[in-house]
């Protein structure tokens, strides 16, 4: 199995605060890894570094690009990283609210679109062909998530759960090999969370994805992740199989507090 995404000694400092320090991770093809930790542990910051939104203070990030070769990405812009095949969703939903559901997804096709502005301005045949291809492909994706009948609705008018789904569809439309999901089940009820778990599993198979996900819902994490990385105060305190991690004293301490409190 080849490594798709690798972080070596990744650290980031905001002023005097070391938000993440010496983060190491290796994501192999086909894995589904969970990144957990208490609030403020640095999970989203790690995601932001992996996708180029924050530049790490030190360390390296290596991505296997579409043509197979490894590439250092710590200096690249987010859109360049996306074009290498790493897509993400956001914890605080960042849809294009005033655009339709379909347009939200179509925007993610942009760097794959095989025509230039001039073709669009002159409305050349290649423009119509590409637009048709993009439209059909995106409607297919929406269908998978049962959103196709809402393609003309504005994103802001979707119910919360569907907005979360739309974020995943949008990320998928960039045709990634690795998908980073930042709390995909946040705010969902247990039933919705269960459906989402099934959905994540099925798209992973169908699109041959490698997934890294941040999640607070332990049921979801324990249910689908093959491996878990636990962060606390910006450091990795444990990693391994779900069952092992939950027994780790460090993890229990991070989540439930010190044992001393039990004695008192």
């Amino acid at each position: 199995m080849t490594t798709l995404l690798q972080a070596e000694n990744l650290s980031i400092q905001f002023g005097g605060l070391m938000a993440v320090s010496s983060f190491n991770m290796e994501l192999k093809e086909g894995e589904l890894v969970g990144l957990i930790g208490p609030n403020g542990a640095g999970k989203t910051t790690t995601f932001n570094m992996l996708t180029g939104i924050h530049k790490p203070t030190s360390g390296r990030i290596i991505v296997r690009s579409r043509n197979g070769g490894p590439r250092n990405i710590e200096k690249l812009q987010p859109y360049q990283i996306t074009s290498l095949g790493v897509a993400r969703t956001f914890q605080n939903i960042r849809l294009f609210k005033d655009l339709t559901v379909l347009d939200n997804v179509r925007i993610a096709n942009h760097f794959n679109a095989q025509y230039k502005s001039i073709h669009a301005l002159l409305r050349l045949p290649v423009f119509y062909q590409e637009e048709k291809r993009i439209y059909e492909y995106n409607m297919e994706l929406l269908k998978l998530f049962k959103l196709e009948h809402k393609s003309d609705e504005l994103a802001k008018n979707l119910p919360y759960g569907e907005q979360r789904k739309l974020e995943i569809v949008r990320a998928l439309a960039t045709k990634p090999h690795t998908l980073l999901l930042d709390e995909p089940a946040a705010g969902m009820n247990p039933q919705e969370t269960k459906e989402l778990m099934e959905l994540i599993k099925s798209i992973k198979e169908q699109f041959n994805l490698t997934i890294l996900l941040i999640e607070h819902d332990m049921n979801l994490v324990m249910g689908i992740c093959e491996r878990i990385i636990v962060l606390d105060y910006g450091r990795v305190i444990a990693q391994g199989k779900p069952a092992e991690v939950t027994r780790d004293p460090m993890v229990i301490k991070a989540y439930l507090g010190k044992e001393m409190e039990n004695d008192a």
């Binding site: 859109y79 996306t82 897509a87 960042r94 294009f96 655009l99 942009h110 760097f111 637009e131």
Partner: protein, 339 residues
């Protein structure tokens, strides 16, 4: 499907030409009097510049406050090309647009890398700098006294308003086609996504800086075209025609019509131009009235005129389709039978 689309395009073009001939006939026969024709022509030019502004401020979400400056660059360049170098008027107008675009490129390169309102501040400064340069560059611009004797579109006195109107109309159609074709395409969607959420757009593979530059340069180009039309139409240019107040006028047109709505800009552009002529006696109070309009708009109707209509756009293709159906008398049942 293919032929349906072509049919729609052909009908659209026929509708445009018919509208053009009709309006021009009215103007030529003096059914629309000369004064109104002038106002309509100024209106068309204002709309062209305002459309340019809407592209960057309404669709890309980057506030720009110096479009009178780009207009000035276009106007003086066109005048200089015609008067000093003897370039024919049409290439000269496009020359004005290109030089204006060049300025847009130079301003955009440092400022559009940043997020936030830096563009507003820099373009505000640019508008004023251009005006001061125009005042001091006396060899080319005639200085504060202004530049006189710019050759008009035609020397024939009787046909002059007709020709000016026709040319302004042509450019207006050209610019609307350009912008609406751009917006309904992948690069256009990329531009709008920047307005919606810059970080998400970037994460979805949009080169945000490139598309901001693209939209801003095109916006400056269009404003330059507007300026290029201005020069031969008035035959006289003075730096004070392009002051800050003028930039604010364009902003008001865009906000009044609805940020990110082309139909609104066209309606508001013509409406406001007409109103300005009508309310000439209030001219001295413009800087009081404009801010008031903006404040009232922001409080009660921030989405502008077209916000009242769900921010929809007038669609020529939609009209063409209806005309087609009317002409060919195809009812849905027949259509289904054909397939």
């Amino acid at each position: 499907m293919q032929s349906e689309r072509q049919k729609k395009t052909i009908t659209s073009i026929i509708l445009l030409v018919l509208g053009f001939v009709f309006l021009n006939a009215l103007v030529a026969m003096r059914i629309i009097d000369e004064y109104t024709t002038q106002v309509l022509t100024i209106g068309a030019i204002n709309v062209v510049v305002a459309l340019g502004l809407n592209l960057i401020s309404g669709f890309t979400g980057q506030l720009a406050l110096g479009h009178a400056g780009f207009m000035a660059v276009g106007a003086y360049t066109t005048a200089a090309l015609v008067m000093k170098l003897g370039v024919p008027i049409f290439p000269a107008i496009f020359g004005g647009g290109l030089i204006s675009a060049l300025f847009g490129l130079l301003i955009g390169l440092p400022t559009l890398r940043l997020r936030g309102d830096y563009l507003a501040i820099v373009t505000l400064g640019f508008g004023e700098i251009i005006r001061v340069i125009m005042i001091n560059l006396t060899e080319i611009t005639g200085g504060p006294a202004g530049l006189k004797g710019i050759p008009p579109f035609t020397t024939n006195f009787y046909w002059r308003p007709v020709v000016s109107f026709a040319i302004a109309y042509l450019f207006l159609v050209l610019v609307i086609t350009l912008i609406s074709n751009l917006l309904k395409s992948s690069p256009g969607r990329a531009i709008v996504s920047i307005r919606e959420d810059e970080i998400a757009a970037n994460a979805m593979g949009i080169n945000v800086f490139y598309y901001k530059m693209f939209a801003f340069t095109l916006s400056a180009f269009i404003a330059g075209l507007g300026g290029g039309l201005y020069a031969p139409f008035f035959g006289y240019l003075s730096p004070n025609m392009f002051n800050f107040q003028k930039s604010v006028e364009f902003l008001i047109i865009v906000v009044l019509g609805g940020m990110g709505n082309l139909t609104g800009t066209v309606l508001a552009g013509f409406g406001l131009t007409y109103l300005q002529e009508f309310l000439r006696f209030l001219q001295d109070y413009r800087l009081v009235i404009y801010p008031l309009i903006l404040i009232v708009l922001m409080l009660f109707q921030p989405s502008g005129l077209m916000g009242l209509f769900g921010n929809r756009e007038f669609s020529l293709a939609g009209l063409a389709e209806q005309v087609n159906q009317l002409l060919f008398r195809k009812d849905p049942a027949e259509k289904a039978g054909e397939k």
